[in-house]
Chain length 233, copies 2
Amino acid sequence: MTTAQADGWLNALAKDRGDLDRSSTAERVADKLRARVLDGDITPGRQLNEKALGEALRVSRNTLREAFRLLTHERLLVHEYSKGVFVRRPDVPDVVDLYAARRVIECGAIRRWPDVDDEARQAVRDAVALGLACRENDDWTGVGTANVKFHQAITALAGSARLDEEMKRLLAELRLAFHVMGDHEEFYRDYLTLNQSIVDRLDAGEVRQAEEALLTYFDRAEKHLVTGLGATR
Amino acid sequence: MTTAQADGWLNALAKDRGDLDRSSTAERVADKLRARVLDGDITPGRQLNEKALGEALRVSRNTLREAFRLLTHERLLVHEYSKGVFVRRPDVPDVVDLYAARRVIECGAIRRWPDVDDEARQAVRDAVALGLACRENDDWTGVGTANVKFHQAITALAGSARLDEEMKRLLAELRLAFHVMGDHEEFYRDYLTLNQSIVDRLDAGEVRQAEEALLTYFDRAEKHLVTGLGATR
DNA sequence: TCCCGTCAATTGTTCAACAATCTCTCAATC
DNA sequence: GATTGAGAGATTGTTGAACAATTGACGGGA
């Protein structure tokens, strides 16, 4: 047996284990593609050619196809048999589905507010503060990512890593929808103040009202996207 | 243009389109493996050897690896770099995480009861009825699957296909946990009566009480699994 | 205009090969 | 006896090539 002190070192090391986990080539390729897709560099609906992409990234077709599989399961790509993979292009039913899911998950999570530890709560407050700071500097991209952080922090209140993962996927998909209709960043202005009011109500112990405000946010954002997408067809 | 009658044929055919969608070999392989894993034929923790499995199923390693990717994303398998894939073996933190997610999703979904159409409600009632019928015949496996159907029907109240998919994954993972501790089917007896009371309260318009009963179910099931899993180490 | 082959391009699938990595065994050492 | 190190064998990671199957576009003919 080791000493208690040695155990402390071991535990500390165990925390860093993640850094040691090498990733496969397919995962690294997926990382690169994911970034391109989420930044809108590869526009929704566009096909990803296996041969061309494989040569550009210097990986074999097999490895590239593994990366495609990963991103398809993240719903960033869609796979049509014998046709290839395309960047997902969310439509109106998709958006409705996504917000139905968000309403359930985030409203369910926000109710846990009184029960969770303060670290989780602080993450929610920090996200709003970050958004305010970014607005101060007219950094609207920053406001957008802060908004994503806010909703991830809300989800984290539930205390489920699996739910956090799913929310990450849902938000990524919504980002695609924004790209389809051409990201009008000024809308974040409204959302930011709404987030602020949600936190205020939470801190005032008015969880029920905070949930209502959250639902208002969802209604507004959903309508925003639905009308925006409807105009593109 | 075709006649209205021809359009009727077309619409009828369009419904069968799903059957025509060929699935890739990898997906069919994944289907077979999924069934084996969920039935407990391949026990949690066991490694899946690429060469041996590929020869047994008569598919190439590449195709098999694609199937592995699919099941890994469904959380039925875990992939360790340079080591291979293993049947997931949920532990106590996994179970806690899973139930945290279920609490949020299913409680959020059940609140939609007053708003949803009757078809969705009937699915919930049918699942309970199916469970009762199976118990009548001492078909405890059937009671188990009816219980799964019940919770899927609850989730479906939210009206999000994405949420339904996620719940399917969560429940599959829980099935693995049951296999780890050795499925004691008699426990379903309690769950069935609890489900019954949930439906009764819903039909009485007592949504709030139904949610409480659901939470009771989660607490009991979680404790059941946690103690069961704790005993295995 | 519509129908129907033809053909090039792309994807689906398999195979073989080699590199990288892990695991097990067996000594050697302290 | 416990630990360390080297080496062999097995398994996975990745690639490139090959061929079959499918798609989509092009153009000829009615």
